[in-house]
């Protein structure tokens, strides 16, 4: 094998596909008892499913992510950015598409092709808006399960995801413990802390305070871009770290030598946040943010409404866990990852844990880092296929 063959490669071209189920009167019954249907899930896949069907890996995305985890869409310009975890998915990468059939689906409640508050409610012919039922992380997993059934996938070699994606990983493990051979929750928590709920609440209030939000009914008018942009700015503060901000921006000024003594952008960090906010409103729906942040706030693996899906209930399952945290993550700090590890140990689960040293805060799991690829690749190789 020559040098070039050893280089990890691009996942290449990928197409977004759609699967619709739960057509009325067979709606999906949500955790809160509400009925939702039809439910469409947008998804993408990489690699080939083996004949035995034993090489499927499900990637669960973070709250503002989508199904486009790697590669490029056909016809995209050469400058287009690849999927959000392109550094992890592809031939020879951590999730090696030569070995694994990788699937990523847009979550229920999202706005990137799956059914969410911006979808048309077939009963009214109008977007759901706030009439969309409140869904949970558990409901997201049930829609993903229907997708896997549709794809004839009876077992998962692994489920992997960061942040809200990590919550989905854990939810998979408690709902379908016999289906999941290994699980990799990254930069996540088994219950939202008051700090995480607080940031989410400020983000929600920013949207709801925007008059254009109009109680969620804005799809025929100008959307609440200002509120959504502020929500994203708050989000970005929590994704970075004190250290990363000092390194990236410090107190440096943006294109000027002195203060403006006004409320225009002076500092680089202000410019960065405004840019991130304005970029986000082009691709994300404000109501989706409200629903998904609430679902993550409700997430609690310790005290559950339905005790059938708890950590205790998986005692005896053979799922291998790899918990990963980042040293400078202050949204889901390492101590929360350790609480998860502790709970898994007490439940008698096979668990590995590693904190990765990085100064980029919560965002670190999305940045190219060969340490994550090596950890994950080796862990998946060490997970038996049966």
């Amino acid at each position: 094998m020559n040098q070039i063959d050893n280089q990890p490669g691009s996942a290449g071209l990928v197409e977004k596909k759609y699967f619709t189920c739960a057509e009325p009167p067979h709606e999906q019954v949500l955790e809160n008892g509400a009925r939702l249907g039809p439910v469409t899930t947008a998804y993408e896949t990489w690699g080939e499913l083996s004949e035995k069907g034993d090489n499927a890996v499900l990637v669960t995305h973070a709250f503002s992510g989508d199904s486009h985890a790697a590669g490029y869409y056909p016809g995209e310009s050469p400058e287009a950015k690849p999927g959000w975890w392109d550094s992890m998915i592809g031939p020879g990468k951590g999730l090696d598409t030569n070995k694994y059939f990788v699937i990523c689906a847009n979550i229920l409640g999202g706005c990137m092709g799956s059914t969410g508050p911006s979808s048309i409610n077939p009963a009214t012919g109008k977007p759901y808006g706030l009439s969309f039922p409140m869904m949970t992380i558990g409901d997201m997993i049930e829609t993903q399960k229907r997708l896997l059934d549709h794809l004839n996938i009876a077992s998962l070699h692994s489920v992997i995801g960061g942040s809200v994606g990590g919550m989905q990983v854990l939810e998979w493990c408690v709902r379908y413990p016999d289906m999941v051979r290994s699980a990799i929750p990254v930069a996540t928590t088994m219950r939202h802390s008051a700090l995480a709920i607080a940031f989410n609440e400020v983000a929600r209030q920013a949207i709801m305070a925007d008059p254009r939000w109009n109680r969620g009914d804005y799809y025929d008018t100008a959307p609440p871009d200002l509120g959504l942009a502020i929500a994203r700015m708050i989000g970005h503060v929590t994704y970075l770290s004190d250290e990363a901000m000092r390194r990236k921006f410090g107190r440096r000024l943006q294109n000027k030598a002195d203060f403006s003594y006004g409320f225009d952008v002076d500092f680089q960090v202000e410019s960065y946040l405004r840019y991130q906010g304005s970029k986000f409103v082009k691709r994300f729906d404000a109501n989706s943010l409200l629903y998904i942040t609430k679902a993550s706030d409700y997430f609690d693996l310790v005290e559950r409404n339905n005790s059938a899906y708890s950590l205790q209930s998986i005692s005896g399952s053979r799922t291998k866990f790899l918990v990963i945290s980042y040293s400078s993550d202050w949204l889901y700090p390492t101590y929360q990852a350790k609480e998860l590890v502790q709970a898994l140990k007490r439940a008698g689960q096979n668990v590995s844990f590693c904190e990765i040293e990085a100064d980029c805060g919560h965002d670190a799991f999305l940045l190219p880092d060969e340490r994550l690829g090596k950890l994950v690749g080796g862990f998946l190789d060490g997970t038996p296929r049966n």
């Binding site: 291998k320 590890v341 007490r346 950890l375 060490g382």
Partner: protein, 210 residues
Amino acid sequence: MVPLETDDMRFDLRVISSKIEPGTRVLDLGCGNGDLLAWLEANKQVSGTGIEQDKEKAAHCIGRGLSVLQGDMIEEVDDYPDKSFDYVILSQTLQQVYEPARLLYSLSRIGRRFIVSFPNFSHYVIRMQLLLKGAAPKSEELPYSWYDSPNIRVITLKDFRKFSHDVGYRIVEEIAIITDYKSNQGRIINRLTNWRATYGIFIIEKQSTR
């Protein structure tokens, strides 16, 4: 004795691995790069878990397919239910532990047996240094000075025997070894062990309290 197939492993680890029954659950504390666990999984089909403080070493272990927790062993052992393992291994670390009695108690709780190896501070070279030079002993195995040594506990084979007796641990087996610090070679000795052994290995079982 089970033949030792690998020369790559430290001699005390080879002796320890020969004492592990096949198919058992093993916890290796301070597992380093995971050589012992990997060997035990490949050759004795054990279900192994390691704990390693060093992040890079822990990541290396996980990357080679081992179940390893990165963290402080004193804290990590507390989380396991009673008798979670058949063997808990603590090799060449006891002399660096601040609260050894507490740690050993935890090991006796979470393991059916635990195996501990440590440098023997009553080796004759060490005794002679203290006696003749009047200075804190240094050796090629233990090159530290009193002010920078991580080895804060001075343990001898005799001390450990007495400790085990006092707290009610049954010594299933005691193995004294002489090792060469430059290589992975060594041998087991049976006579004048407290004088001649560079390391001691104890296999311990908690006596059932009645």
